[in-house]
């Protein structure tokens, strides 16, 4: 029942070719430090899944740990520009892009949650993505209407960084939840990294934002979202991001 693990223990459980879905959004509460740990491991050929991301994939592209990406948007915001390691790896043919709209990533993860092979989805029609990415359509058995069907993506790991968690896996998220509620349900196993582990009484008076039911392991990892934002704990460390972008060292 005690789900607390060391960061190295959970990294060791991951295998090459696994599908990993990250929580957070772009530079907000994203599990960037876990990405560094994976980058410094021997795990390769990962399939990385997230609606909108930046630094995790830029780190993992630099370490050549990634085979495939399923995402809607991959870029920093503002002054930090594009994810150049990722971009270069794609342009060099090292990473295969399964380009999504953010909503189709959500649909693929919803299908995983519902245990169904695909989700019908509105939109996408007219986009070259449909034929280029080979998104198929399905006929509504009630009316015959054709609608795009997104195949389920069942991540082997969901990795989510939160502010507080107890040893059972109940989590408090300060600020936006983003798609973490979906990631923790869709993945076969969800790993929570947190700024702080709280005592058993912490969630007596307020309900957790993520339930223990959706959590496999809990790792205390202070500054786990750094150099990104972690509301209530720290803001952006611009210098570190610039240093990563310019020098390209894996921590």
């Amino acid at each position: 029942m005690d789900k607390i693990r060391d960061i190295n223990e959970v990294i060791e459980m991951m295998k090459s070719n696994d599908i990993i879905a990250f929580g957070g959004n772009v530079l907000h509460r994203s599990p960037i430090q876990v990405a560094y740990h994976i980058a410094n491991s021997n795990i390769k050929d990962l399939h990385i899944v997230k609606t909108a991301m930046a630094m995790e994939i830029d780190i993992l592209a630099l370490s050549k740990s990634v085979k495939k990406v399923s995402a809607g948007f991959i870029s920093y915001e503002g002054e930090f520009g594009l994810c150049n390691n990722y971009r270069k790896a794609v342009q060099d043919g090292e990473i295969q892009v399964q380009e999504h709209a953010c909503y189709s990533v959500i649909a693929a993860l919803r299908a995983a949650i519902y245990g169904i092979p695909f989700m019908p989805i509105r939109g996408l029609l007219g986009s070259d993505l449909v034929h280029t990415m080979d998104y198929k359509t399905v006929a509504d058995p009630y009316t015959g209407e054709e609608i795009v069907a997104i195949q389920a993506i069942v991540p082997d790991w969901g990795i989510i960084h939160v502010q507080k968690a107890d040893r059972f896996g109940n989590c408090e998220i300060i600020g936006p939840m983003y798609e973490d509620d979906i990631v923790c349900r869709a993945a076969k196993n969800t790993i929570i990294t947190c700024e702080e582990i709280v005592g058993d009484e912490y969630f007596k008076d307020k309900k957790a934002d993520i339930s223990e039911v959706f959590v496999k392991y809990v790792v205390e990892l202070p500054k786990g979202a750094s150099p990104g934002y972690c509301p209530g704990y720290y803001g952006l460390d611009k210098e570190k991001i610039n240093s990563f972008k310019n020098k390209g060292t894996l921590k």
Binding site: A71, S75, L82, Y86, E99, A101, S127, G175, M177
Partner: protein, 238 residues
């Protein structure tokens, strides 16, 4: 009036398009729409519902940052409408306005944010369209803004159609295009711009019949704009 910049004109143009709308959404990397929605809620349309990626609804008095998906756009919200909810709203035809940008836009209002060159062997891998491939066809209107107006951005046909759909207007640093019968048409020219400059900087031929010249930002608009965005983050995209 002497200190009005292109970014002011763009944001004011975006804001004015929200006049009779019920709700509007912007995503990541969307400084101008963020400021425009806030401006509209102050000046043009006080009942506009403001939605963003964070789950925040109608947030007020946010301290802006260069990021448009952070906690500053969530914490003062009274309720939560998640990104999944916003896509769902759009999917069931209840989203009035989605703001989207891109690397290229063509004469039909199709947008490309995927690649320059061949898809599988790209010259430049772009960030991807975020929500656009879903929002362009499902939102009642998609307003595209583009912070560069040159022949490389405004092309006859995009290299790759990341998204196609209900684009109503395209707002640029020089003008506003309106999509009429499936093609972009010059709708408003900014007061400091010339028709020749538009033609010169656009790769497709422009129907400019009946265009008008934009009203410069009013004093009321400029005061509100400077209250919302005192650090002029809106300049950062240009």
């Amino acid at each position: 009036m002497e200190d009005i910049r292109i970014s002011d004109m763009m944001v004011v143009s975006l804001a004015r398009l929200l006049k009779n709308k019920e709700n509007a959404f912007h995503g990541v990397a969307s400084i101008m729409p963020m400021v425009a929605i806030m401006l509209s809620r102050k000046v043009h349309n006080k009942e506009l519902t403001y939605l963003n990626i964070t789950g925040g609804v109608n947030i007020e008095d946010a301290e802006l940052t260069i990021s448009t998906d952070g906690n500053n756009l969530f914490q003062s919200s009274k309720s939560v409408v998640k990104l999944t909810d916003i896509f769902d709203l759009s999917a069931r035809n209840k989203l009035d306005i989605a703001f989207l940008s891109c690397s290229q836009v063509d004469q039909y209002g199709n947008i490309n944010n995927s690649v320059i060159g061949n898809y599988h062997n790209p010259k430049v891998r772009l960030p991807g369209g975020a929500g656009s491939a879903v929002l362009l066809p499902t939102a009642k209107e998609a307003i595209v803004w583009k912070s560069k107006h040159d022949t490389r951005s405004f092309v006859e046909n995009v290299d790759f159609i990341t998204a196609k759909g209900n684009v109503s207007y395209v707002v640029t640093p020089k003008c506003i295009f309106k999509r009429v019968d499936g093609k972009l048409k010059l709708y408003e020219l900014y007061p400091f711009e010339t028709l020749d400059s538009i033609i010169e900087n656009t790769s497709f031929s422009i129907d400019h019949e009946g265009f008008s010249v934009s009203l410069p930002p009013t004093g009321e608009e400029m005061i509100a704009l400077n209250q919302i965005d005192p650090d002029r983050l809106r300049d950062s995209e240009l």
